[in-house]
Symmetry: C2
DNA sequence: ATAGTAGGTTACTTCAAGTAGGAAACGGTA
DNA sequence: TACCGTTTCCTACTTGAAGTAACCTACTAT
């Protein structure tokens, strides 16, 4: 039942999906769904929760037995991207809720904004990292944009943090990781 | 007119806002808004586009005149977080569209999922970075989660990339930046 | 056999997006 | 000044989907 709802949400988008349609596909009547989930949003929440649990379990599983923090982190990351592959639909729902919820035009607009920013970063990086392949540059730019977006959410919850400090947090994590690539002679310690 | 729409969207949330309400507040009738923007989503797109333009201009401005890539990046980041401060409302719309669009329960669910992940990372980090302050740990965890989310979007668009490669991209950018903090004796080059 | 209940359905209400058709103001012409 | 076309905007409707009320069927216990 939630499986079907999840599929329909991912397929049509949350807003474009009617409860009648879900009820139809499930082969049950609408009030039944309201009986179980209370509302359309309740159904969405239930779907999200299920996916979330699954993701958490899979990544947690992958980390146990790691012998170093580096290994733990890498294992977790690999598990995360594997999950993306295996549950493409669910992933849409959990990590791209905006896409599932708002119409396609608005999503396109936001995605365009991001891509602009990303292209700008790629241009900046590539000037100083001539040896890096295109894929790494793209990935680096995406990571940077994701980091900014997420940290800005954190940032607004912390009135005591200055813009300079927030920027510094990102610099510490990304730049000094990048710098090894820029110089090309300063290989990563360990 | 878009100013008002933006404010109402940010205040009530996109879904919870009716076109009648916006029309009322603007002091014009509903068909007028449809004349200009075509649909509710069209209005949202227009608002997003405006904010996006402003953000792009402000960050672009901040970068010119930088003497090194590091300086350029830092300036851009600072400008970005300043923008967050100055345009709290607009920022909601552009960077937290999911929040503005879906109901509060679903947002809470997703945010909880993220926080779980973040707490996990904080625990992992803090074991190896005893000297780091709480704020830095939090920021690092948020950045990592943001990086994962964003890169996963990129990842699904690239069928030729393996989960291991995606994980490696994140490791390169974040871990080798973090490692300087872990060892505490290996100060950042330059 | 019958009363009560669990589980489900049909058919309604309500509310908001989007639209059609008309009123009013304005501008040009005699 | 009176009249007609055009533009501009609003009132009032249609449509569609979320959520609900009232009813119906089948099963169980006395």
């Amino acid at each position: 039942m939630m499986t079907i709802a999840e599929a329909v949400f991912a397929e049509r988008g949350y807003a474009a999906t009617s409860m009648d349609e879900i009820a139809d596909r499930v082969g049950v009547s609408k009030p039944m769904i309201y009986e179980y989930f209370g509302s359309k949003e309740g159904l969405l929440v239930a779907c999200i929760r299920q996916v979330r649990t699954e993701l958490r379990e899979q990544t947690a599983q992958s980390v146990i037995g790691a012998r170093s923090p580096e290994e733990a982190l890498r294992n977790g990351l690999v598990a995360f991207f594997r999950f993306t592959d295996d549950h493409r639909r669910s992933w849409e729902l959990l990590l791209r809720t905006e896409t599932a919820v708002v119409g396609p035009a608005a999503v396109a607009e936001i995605e365009t904004a991001r891509q602009e920013q990303i292209q700008l970063h790629i241009a900046l990086f590539s000037a100083y990292m001539p040896d890096a392949d295109e894929q790494s540059l793209e990935a680096a730019a995406e990571i940077l944009v994701g980091a900014c977006e997420r940290l800005s959410v954190w940032y607004v919850r912390h009135d005591d943090v200055t813009p300079e400090q927030a920027a510094e947090h990102i610099m510490r994590m990304t730049w000094f990781g990048l710098q090894g690539e820029v110089t090309q002679q300063d290989d990563h310690p360990q």
